[in-house]
């Protein structure tokens, strides 16, 4: 009762503020909170006429199928391994680029390199699809080159093997500028005095990097890695869909949870199964991010998310 009065009092005092944030709250209620009820589809044999509660309740049957058919394992494995590859290769390249960008003397070169590296971040994934088409289709640049060297053309669309590398390449390619900027900002925050002192002690540039830059980048690095690990079940739908599309021959090596859910909705019309895979992803993603946040809170509280 007293709490309610407290709310009313606060509401009357700050009516304008409540009104200003109301549309945003309504937005999240409609587009985020109410759809959460829809995870119930995961436990039904969904039919379009029945809708939310008119469909047959089947318990954990959808999950059971996903698990026993091996689909869930394959999707999880692909999603996690791709994300790990993105994470490791991406971060290493970003740190190396940031270190060089911070130290090189030519301002013009630095500016140009930074601009070019950040450019892919601004492009749509559809354009990445256009690159892939230009390079790897029958008439693509790669096949043209193979023919020029007198080699047999290679049919990329029939072979899953190269796509792993192509996918990792384009992910790293698109994110390198973004990550480099974040690491560069962290390096710029390091006090010049440390480097001056190291120079007086006779440390060369490599020694400075090893004993000043890298150790001081470690917190940023660990933090970014931890947060990425929290999201490791979230797949990059745009990337996989624009590069692979609906080419069933390549699914074994390239199907992730997000592409599977999307296909359940648009190709197979298997709402129950798709929602189940999505709920699996959301649920374990939630557990993971909570764990990560707990670890960060224990060790470096100021960096915790909440």
């Amino acid at each position: 009762m007293s709490e309610k009065r407290g709310f009313l009092k606060e509401f009357n005092k700050n009516r304008t503020l409540f009104l200003m944030i109301a549309p945003t709250l309504l937005y999240f209620i409609i587009f985020s909170y109410i759809p959460m009820i829809g995870v119930y589809y995961a436990f039904t044999n969904f039919n379009f006429d029945g809708g939310l509660f008119g469909s047959e309740f089947v318990g954990f049957k959808n999950f059971e199928f996903l698990y026993k058919s091996g689909i869930l394992w394959n999707l999880t494995k692909n999603t996690v391994l791709y994300n790990l590859a993105f994470l490791i290769i991406g971060n290493i390249l970003q740190i190396v680029s940031a270190i060089f960008l911070a130290q090189l003397a030519s301002k013009f070169f630095k500016k140009t390199a930074q601009s070019l590296m950040f450019l892919p971040y601004f492009l749509s994934w559809v354009l990445v699809g256009a690159f892939v088409f230009n390079m790897f289709s029958d008439l693509g640049v790669v096949n043209t080159m193979l023919k020029q060297f007198g080699l047999q053309p290679y049919d990329f669309y029939l072979n899953p093997a190269p796509w792993k590398y192509i996918i990792v390449f384009f992910n790293v390619w698109k994110g390198i500028g973004y990550g480099t900027i974040i690491y560069l900002a962290a390096i710029m925050g390091i006090s010049d005095e440390l480097y001056e002192a190291a120079k007086i002690d006779g440390a060369n540039v490599f020694q400075q990097i090893r004993s000043i830059t890298l150790p001081l980048l470690k917190p940023t690095f660990i933090l970014l890695i931890l947060f990425s690990l929290g999201g490791i079940l979230k797949g990059q739908f745009d990337l996989f869909y624009q590069i692979i599309g609906n080419n069933g021959l390549l699914y074994d090596a390239t199907d992730i949870i997000d592409t599977y859910v999307f296909r359940s909705l648009t190709v197979n019309f298997d709402i129950g199964m798709g929602t189940a895979a999505g709920l699996y992803q959301s649920f374990f993603g939630f557990v993971l991010i909570m764990t990560v946040n707990y670890i960060i809170k224990k060790t470096r509280e100021e960096y915790a998310l909440f």
Binding site: T16, L17, M20, I21, T24, L25, F28, I30, F31, S32, P35, M36, G38, Y41, G51, V96, S97, F100, Q103, L104, S115, L116, M117, F118, F122, L123, S124, V126, L127, A130, F131, N134, M135, L139, G140, V141, T144, M145, K147, I181, I182, A185, Y195, E196, K199, I200, G202, N204, F206, Q208, T220, G245, L265, I271, T275, S282, F286, M290, Y303, L305
Partner: protein, 312 residues
């Protein structure tokens, strides 16, 4: 190596401008650095070159030999073809520009109002509501319940609103905006209150003008998201006169849609109508504005990233 380094201490920042002989380690470092960054920059650029080169190649050369890094022929046929019957492209441009403008402005309004309310330290529920918004990034019902909400319950299938609403407000943007606004000193708000200004007036007259860098950054993030969006059109839009630019490009690339060009003109002239080169030309036309604006807006994005990175 160590001995040498002691003999010639590195002249990093202390000797800026003066020409002091650099030590061996620095020379090695510079050679590696300039080479590596040049290579990475070129790799970032090459795909563009391929697309632009492809769009200016003669269709016959592509069909007989394939796409090349350096084509032998130059042809403007693909662009001519795009711009002799440009209605479809113009239409898609119109849709994209309209959706981008409407969505960015509306999104900016909602985001800035929410950010302002959550940044007010005298607002009792700011932490609860922040978490209410933030929680949506931690857990979601997934794609399918959201899709059913959009189509079955809101009836947004094939509606422009299906393009505007999904990217409109995001928890990240609100948090970013709140952090921008938190840096405005309380005393400014307090003195305005004493002068009798209401909460909305403070927002409009004081907070917004002081937050222009934040507004620019988030506005540009929103605009970029709208411009590059193809996903929402892919799941919601069914009639092709409502296709935004990126989705039209996607359809043309996947050959699901053929750009309506005057193929009739080619039959008589005994020339192959551009098809493969046309795809590349449409890609160039769809990306052009981003490339043209990029040099001017880059700094706002960098600013947004660094602030977001520092304060989470």
């Amino acid at each position: 190596m160590n001995v040498q380094a002691e003999k010639w201490p590195v002249a990093r920042k202390a000797n800026k401008g003066s020409k002091i002989k650099e030590d061996k380690a620095t020379i090695v470092f510079n050679v590696i650095g300039y080479t590596l960054l040049t290579v990475i920059s070129l790799v970032c650029l090459i795909p563009f070159w391929l697309i632009v080169a492809g769009s200016f190649t003669d269709e016959m050369e592509i069909i007989s030999e394939g796409f090349k890094l350096f084509p032998h022929t130059i042809s403007f046929e693909a662009y001519k073809s795009v711009f002799t019957t440009p209605e479809q492209i113009y239409r898609a441009y119109g849709v994209t520009i309209g959706v981008t403008a409407a969505g960015s402005l509306l999104g900016l309004l909602l985001t800035s109002m929410a950010g302002y309310v959550l940044s007010r330290k005298d607002f009792m529920y700011r932490n609860n509501l922040s978490f209410f918004i933030y929680f949506t990034t931690l857990f979601s019902g997934g794609l399918i319940p959201w899709y059913i909400m959009m189509t079955k319950y809101l009836g947004l299938k094939d509606s422009y609103w299906a393009l505007i609403l999904p990217p409109l407000v995001s928890a990240w943007n609100i948090i970013l905006m709140r952090n921008f606004m938190k840096s405005i000193p309380d005393s400014v708000i307090e003195s305005a209150k004493i002068d009798g200004a209401g909460d909305f007036l403070i927002y409009r007259r004081i907070i917004l003008p002081l937050s222009t860098p934040g507004l620019a950054t988030i506005g540009l993030f929103l605009a970029l998201g709208y411009w590059n969006d193809w996903f929402n059109a892919n799941v919601f839009i069914t009639s092709d006169n409502k296709y935004p630019l990126q989705f039209l490009l996607y359809k043309i690339l996947s050959s699901a849609a053929v750009l309506r060009t005057q193929t009739g003109a080619y039959l008589a002239a005994n020339v192959v109508p551009p098809a493969e080169t046309l795809k590349m030309a449409v890609a160039v036309v769809a990306t052009g504005p981003i490339i043209l604006l990029y040099p001017f807006v880059q700094k706002y994005f960098v600013k947004g990233l660094t602030i977001g990175a520092v304060k989470g």
